[in-house]
């Protein structure tokens, strides 16, 4: 048995009105990959912020022992000096700087007080070799894909002589290949003596890579499982995370009544003037009333672009082709037109272009359909609170009140606010773009249940998803998008993960 490199003992951290961490203990052994799992709001990120000094010593109670010494970090720079590095979901690179500038940003190699660029470039090259990234060092980070940026972040951490590397959902934005690469790299780093803590929602990945798993729930440590003893399995993890067993997370539908064609898209082409290339080529597809149509495909295949081009084209593509709803031809020049015609789009990026984080729950829910609660353009504040409270209870949004700012809600609850906002426009076609990204198992189940209820009520849904089990579990029909084209259409009884992947990677 190797020694613990990190011990966090009886950590308690309170926010006004909430105990985010309640007497949490967390122990990481040297040279292991330790996964930290739990539902959103379970306290994983808070725990890591305590560790890294974002919440400085004194703002929490309990003790942190790292590398054999009791530590009292006052900020990130303290924790970094002792060899703790955190890589967040939102990457902390400067897009306009080159790869080598980024790697040594904040701990520049200096000759006196002048930066030694030659040495910097040489060392940066060595770091890139360690993370097996093959890019031009002088390339700007802006021009790299998400997967490569992640590797640059890790290179940056390694350049600081990191002993404990913490990754917060590193694969959330990566495709299968990049994820696989990253996991390989973590194993490799482990063999070279780096200890890793990995926060992840992707249980398959946790099972693949973890030596040890700690489960948090509601701010408390539930258990620590050892992979070598065979304690780590998907059912065990889910059971501990949600405190109950979820046998089938895709709810059964009572009836599947598929009606007339609600949306029909023909010969749909789009050209992005900013990228200077065409992004959709001769797309044909349709959606019937009361069905869930899955749009599968790799990231960057054009699924989101397809959805946006239908939803009033806010990005300003040049579009040709025909779109009709319930048999009548339409041209949406702005999302407003699409909304008025009964289309709603729940974005994949709820913080970026979905919600207004500085506003409260009720303002977010009513934003897209203010006229519903206004008479002669004057908003009825009381009606607004009433509407918001209706969605709060029907979607089970966990918030003390609808006057709470959305930024204070957990990811799953933010997603429910987002869904509520778009249900309030009373759509006949709901487009959900990665509806369960970055939310926990319990909230996922709730989202699926809501979707099921909606289609039973006659709504049609287009669901864009990178998670194949979700596509297979929820859809009635699947279109696979690849390189801006519809690579194939599958009835759900014929669809398998293999078939979808084959179409998706078939350029």
């Amino acid at each position: 048995m190797s020694n613990p490199i990190l011990e966090m003992k009886n950590i308690t951290k309170e926010f006004p009105g909430v105990k985010a961490l309640n007497n949490v203990s967390f122990q990481v052994k040297e040279h292991e990959i330790h996964c930290l799992v739990g539902e959103n709001g379970a306290g994983k990120s808070t725990l890591m912020k305590v560790l890294s000094g974002v919440y400085p010593h004194g703002e929490y109670t309990g003790e942190i022992v790292f590398d054999g010494k009791v530590q009292s970090f006052r900020g990130i720079s303290d924790s970094e000096k002792t060899g703790v590095a955190i890589i967040y979901q939102e990457l902390a690179l400067v897009p306009e700087m080159t790869v080598y500038e980024n790697i040594f940003l904040g701990h520049e190699i200096k000759n006196g007080s002048i930066i030694d660029w030659n040495e910097t470039i040489k060392r940066a090259g060595e770091m890139l070799k360690k993370v097996k990234l093959n890019v031009n060092l002088a390339e700007k980070v802006r021009d790299l894909g998400v997967g490569k940026r992640q590797l640059v972040e890790i290179a940056k951490a390694l350049s600081k002589d990191v002993k404990l590397l913490i990754l917060d959902e590193p694969t959330a934005a990566l495709n299968e290949d990049d994820s696989e690469n990253l996991l390989d790299l973590l194993r490799d780093l482990k063999n070279h003596g780096v200890t890793c803590v990995l926060i992840s929602h992707k249980l398959k990945e946790v099972i693949k890579i973890a030596d040890t798993v700690t489960v948090l729930r509601d701010g408390q440590t539930i258990c620590t499982l050892d992979a070598q003893k065979g304690e780590v399995s998907e059912t065990a993890l889910i059971k501990h995370m949600v405190g109950r067993e979820i046998n089938n997370i895709y709810p059964k539908r009572e009836t599947r009544k598929v009606g007339e064609v609600i949306l029909n898209v023909e010969n749909w082409n789009a050209y992005d003037p900013n990228l200077g290339r065409s992004i959709l080529k001769d797309v044909n597809f349709h959606v019937n009333k009361g069905e869930i149509v899955g749009l599968a495909g790799l990231m960057g295949s054009g699924r989101t672009e397809l959805a946006l081009s239908i939803f009033g084209n806010p990005a300003g593509y040049y579009i040709s082709g025909e779109l009709s709803m319930l048999g009548s031809k339409k041209r949406f020049k702005h999302p407003e037109d699409a909304i008025n015609a009964g289309v709603a789009y729940v974005t994949e990026d709820r913080k970026g272009n979905g919600l207004i984080l500085i506003q409260d729950v009720k303002q977010n829910i009513t934003l897209a359909n203010l006229k519903e609660i206004a008479t002669r353009s004057i908003v009825n504040d009381n009606a607004e609170v009433k509407v918001a409270n209706e969605y709060k209870s029907s979607l089970n949004i966990k918030t003390p009140s609808v006057e709470q700012k959305v930024s204070n809600l957990s990811g799953g609850n933010q997603q429910k606010v987002s869904v509520g906002k778009w249900l309030f426009v009373k759509p006949s076609l709901l487009i959900l773009d990665e509806p369960t990204r970055g939310i926990d198992v319990g909230a996922k189940y709730e989202i699926y249940t809501i979707m099921t209820k909606l289609v039973e009520q006659g709504l049609s849904i287009i669901m864009i998803s990178s998670e194949l089990p979700e596509i297979l579990g929820m859809s009635d029909r699947v279109y696979v998008v690849s390189a801006g084209k519809i690579a194939g259409e599958l009835a759900i009884r014929d669809a398998t993960q293999e078939k979808i992947m084959q179409l998706a990677t078939n350029y």
Partner: protein, 394 residues
């Protein structure tokens, strides 16, 4: 809950909002003491309100511009230039007063729309686009006043906007020396306020929503009524409500109503809070940009009119630094530089704070150099207070 607990809770929850009012009150109290009461005299308060007018209307427009994450540096000299235009329209083109004013306001809207075109359509940063406007309008003032120099405005109706007072009721032997129409307007305002507050409370109760405890509600009403009453009494003690005050009040009420009660107002704050999300919510961000800059241009014109009327002439130097005073007033009033947050009422308080400082220090005989420093310190303190209370709220 006891009375004091209620009072504390109310104060804690609204500290940011009440902070500005408290600051204004403290500043006024200090000057009242240091000037041995001259500051709070009816005459000085009336002057103060008249001096604040042209900055206050600019600050109202600037609030919305900053809320949608832009800035407008051109409005100072635009106001000065349009002040010259209104003078020329009356003096040289012999237009009657009201057509001249309407023409000027329309030109202001046009100027705002041009800026909006550059910002929304051509995607030029507002700072750069309006800096260009700043230079152009500065030159434009010099061009139009080149041959004549200062243009004196002889029209009495026009000059009354900046110098005149609303007419009084005929003398009836009661309250001699007090402006009775002003008192009546003040009383009506108090009655309307009480009725609207009671109505809103009743509506909330009809929806079963939480309302202020009764005693707090009454205290709030008494306090605001006393405030309006006090100001009315002060104004009535001199010559009553000035036309400038009337103009500013009307503009403030309209903008307050639009920003807090209407769909347009919600859309403006949504664009400021997250432009991408607003666009995807069916809000036309470009349209909102046009509306906000158009309104800013119109208010710049109004500002120029108020100033020209007060001076009874258009000068070559009008407009210098107005935009920075307006921006400072907006920030003192709690507008967030990051966008999406800020209130019209706050910005007017901000303008009053700035002008109270000037007026009070003038009365004390403090030199202009120290006045600038004091105003800078107050601006910094206001923003520090704002940031500190915002962090605590999280």
């Amino acid at each position: 809950m006891s009375f004091f607990q209620n009072a504390r809770k109310l104060l804690q929850q609204n500290i940011r909002e009440y902070g500005m009012y408290i600051a204004l009150f403290v500043i006024m109290a200090i000057f009242t003491v240091t000037t041995k009461g001259t500051f709070i005299s009816s005459r000085n308060i009336v002057n103060l309100v008249n001096q604040t007018g042209y900055i206050a209307v600019l600050a109202i427009g600037m609030t919305l511009v900053i809320v949608i994450r832009h800035i407008d540096l051109s409005v100072g000299f635009l106001g000065g230039f349009l002040g010259a235009v209104v003078a020329i329209a009356m003096v040289q083109w012999h237009l009657p007063v009201f057509p001249a004013i309407l023409l000027t306001l329309a030109l202001g809207v046009l100027a705002g729309v041009i800026i909006a075109f550059l910002v929304a359509q051509m995607k030029i940063p507002a700072f750069v686009a309006t800096l260009a406007g700043w230079l152009i309008y500065r030159g434009a003032i010099l061009v139009v006043t080149e041959s004549t120099g200062t243009i004196v405005i002889p029209d009495e109706t026009f000059n009354a906007i900046g110098n005149g007072f609303i007419p009084d009721l005929p003398e009836m032997g009661i309250l001699p020396g007090v402006h009775k129409l002003t008192l009546i307007i003040g009383l009506i305002a108090i009655v309307l306020l009480i009725i609207s507050e009671i109505n809103s409370r009743k509506k909330k109760q009809a929806y079963n929503f939480e309302v202020l405890p009764m005693e707090m509600f009454i205290i709030k009403l008494v306090f605001t009524s006393a405030l309006i009453g006090g100001i009315t009494w002060l104004l009535a003690g001199y010559q009553g409500l000035s036309w400038t005050a009337v103009v500013v009040l009307v503009v403030a009420i309209i903008y307050h109503f639009i920003t807090t009660q209407t769909v347009l107002g919600r859309h403006i704050y949504a664009v400021g809070g997250n432009p991408e999300a607003a666009e995807l919510s069916g809000i036309n961000v470009k349209k909102i940009t046009y509306i906000v800059f158009g309104s800013m241009g119109m208010l710049a014109a109004l500002s120029g009119i108020l100033f020209a009327s007060r001076l009874q002439s258009a000068t070559t130097t009008a407009g210098g630094l107005w935009e920075l005073d307006a921006i400072a007033a907006a920030f003192i009033g709690g507008v967030s530089p990051a966008g999406g947050i800020g209130k019209v009422a706050g910005s007017i308080i901000g303008a009053l704070v700035m002008l109270s400082l000037t007026s009070g220090m003038n009365l004390m005989g403090i030199g202009i150099s120290y006045q600038y420093m004091a105003r800078g310190a107050v601006l910094a303190a206001a923003v520090i207070f704002d940031v500190a209370t915002r962090n605590r709220a999280h």
